[in-house]
């Protein structure tokens, strides 16, 4: 889902940088006030792990491949503010050193994978947490959050491409449909892995899931 340079109109790139910057400001401010000593090594390790996980491209449908994003697990364990910072670091290194994603499109890529791909799964998971207290409900919340987050991120990528009429010669419905249908399948994989990791954490390290979350107060954050 890493959009390279040249796929988006510069006006779209500027809008996406602007929107993402708002979340960057909030996230860095919040993290600078609430990040705990215990969260620092966990944040660094999870970020490194999902950077490595993104190197594995597994086959999906129609000859395409996909890789884990990791945003949902980062969001559930650390909170969405720290999750966004982690995804920003991963995407920045990928863009600058490996050419995976563009420089002009960096704001759009962070928006899709770091804002939508992190905040939406966290929101859905928190809703599940409030409506159900049993293990199955929580795992379903993690699965659904990752799935919805992945599909919405793809929808946003499609919208950005579709509105870039100068760079991408096809309109919104075509771009959105093409991106969203494939990511419906990819999102199932992300959702399954998220639920499995969450289940394993609940059994082996439930204390990590109880760390204070860097999230808006109304979403149970510190």
């Amino acid at each position: 889902m890493h959009i390279p340079d040249g796929f988006l109109d510069l006006s779209i790139c500027a809008v996406m940088y602007g929107l993402t910057a708002i979340f960057w400001v909030f996230s860095f401010r919040k993290a600078s006030k609430a990040l705990s000593d215990k969260q620092v090594p966990l944040m660094a390790t999870l970020t490194a792990m999902f950077f490595a996980a993104q190197m594995m491209n597994y086959p999906v449908i129609g000859g395409t491949t996909a890789h884990l994003l990791g945003g949902p697990i980062l969001a559930i364990t650390l909170g969405p503010y720290a999750g966004l910072i982690s995804m920003t670091i991963i995407l920045l290194i990928q863009a600058l050193l490996f050419g995976d994603g563009g420089i002009t499109t960096f704001g759009a890529n962070v928006w899709n994978m770091g804002v939508v791909g992190v905040f939406v799964p966290y929101l859905v998971f928190q809703l599940a947490l409030r409506t159900t207290k049993n293990q199955g409900g929580l795992l379903f919340g993690a699965f659904a959050g990752a799935l919805i987050g992945d599909v919405l991120a793809a929808v946003f990528a499609g919208l950005e491409l579709g509105f870039s009429t100068l760079s991408f010669p096809y309109r919104v419905p075509i771009a959105v449909t093409a991106m969203a249908t494939h990511h419906l399948v990819i999102g199932v994989g992300e959702g399954a892995v998220t639920a499995i990791v969450l289940s394993a954490l609940q059994k082996t390290r439930p204390d990590l899931l109880q760390l204070p979350k860097l999230a808006p107060g109304w979403l149970g954050g510190t």
């Binding site: 889902m1 796929f7 944040m43 950077f51 490595a52 594995m56 491209n57």
Partner: protein
């Protein structure tokens, strides 16, 4: 603290496994976006040449040992970068 260390070591170990598996077996990348772009005839126009395009050092393409080394090295660089950013944020917290 020992529990946290075990958890961190497990994650680092898993990262190395991901890199090895990603380099040896799951290296072929054709993301949906690539396919959509190819289908619709959109072309990328990179602003600059990255030093390690496609996660392979120029001149060593296809060298799996080198690629695993690159993967592990940059996983550690991501770890160090995130630690540095998080520690800077912690320092800011103490100043505020």
């Amino acid at each position: 603290m020992t529990g946290v260390k075990h958890m961190l070591l497990l994650c680092i170990f898993l990262s190395f496994i991901f890199v090895v598996v990603g380099v040896i077996w799951f290296y072929n990348s054709m993301e949906t976006l690539d396919q959509v772009a190819e289908h619709f005839g959109a072309t990328a126009s990179p602003l600059w040449n990255p030093p390690i395009p496609e996660y392979e050092i120029p001149g060593f393409q296809g060298n799996q040992v080198m690629n695993i080394g690159v993967g592990i090295l940059f996983t550690l660089i991501v770890f160090a970068s995130t630690s540095a950013v998080a520690k800077c944020l912690r320092l800011l917290k103490h100043r505020v």
